[in-house]
């Protein structure tokens, strides 16, 4: 079964579902989660999509350093949930092209699955095509 799972984290509601599912999978498989947020090189005001339910009503993050702080907050929220559930987790904040960075993380840490939250496969085809490991889409 899976030992090391890459969880792609972003600001969409589906990402929160993927995080819950990743922690559940980790408990079942005794796997370690690598929760990873990829910041774009150039941050625009639209870099954050809809806030997750958990963050709804809170101030939206702004470009640049505020987006970085927001990303860390989301990662540490997941880490705190993992701790409560006795799940091993590592946090990564990368900057660059999303697909390239995720593939590099998979390669660097020899991960064996990628999990992400999305309502549609649109926009993910190239990553799925290039991924050397199983890709799980959670909606």
């Amino acid at each position: 079964m899976y030992q090391k799972v890459l969880l792609y984290v972003d600001d969409r509601p589906e990402s929160e579902k993927a995080a819950s599912e990743a922690l559940r999978l980790a408990r079942v498989c005794d796997a370690r989660i690598f929760a990873t947020w990829v910041m774009p090189e150039t941050v625009t005001p639209t870099a954050l999509a809809q806030p997750t339910k958990r963050r709804a009503g809170k101030r939206k993050a702004q470009p640049g350093s505020e987006l970085e702080e927001h990303a860390w907050s989301r990662l540490y929220e997941i880490e705190d949930d993992a701790f409560e559930q006795n799940v091993r987790i590592s946090l990564l904040l990368e900057t660059g092209n999303r697909d390239d960075k995720l593939l590099a993380v998979i390669d660097s840490y020899q991960l064996d699955a990628l999990m992400l939250g999305t309502r549609s496969i649109a926009g993910w085809e190239a990553l799925i095509e290039r991924s050397p490991v199983a890709v799980m889409l959670i909606r």
């Binding site: 350093s65 907050s73 701790f83």
Partner: protein
Amino acid sequence: MEKLSAMMVQEAVVLDLKAQDKVGVIKELAQLLIARDLITDPDEFYAAILRRENLESTGIGSGIAIPHARTKAVKQLVLAFGRSVAGVDFNSLDNKPCYDIFLIAAPEEKKSEYIATLARLSKFLRREEVRNDLTQAKTAEEVIEIVRRYE
């Protein structure tokens, strides 16, 4: 949220850690908070912070580690800082030793402030100029001033 510099405890800033392993570093820093009566139950605090260290690495790369715990054993959200000249193995993902260690102790009920503090500190410490200045600091007051200047 309170500023990071305001959370720092001057008496819990160590510029030359004696401990050479991560458990020793955590205990050396926590002891300073215990001495200030900021941690009411040392055993519970150690259990919480070491359980987290066993589950994950709090080394975030670039020579930085942020061991942290949120537990009933803590009175208020505080930061301790330690600098290791030799470096300490925190099992960081980049496999490099850690030289600057910020320890966060938070009360159980302060979850959102605790998460925000972790996030702000992680962002803050990714800046190379911050790390360079921390390396150069000669006194506890200077360390706190560096945090105040850049936050």
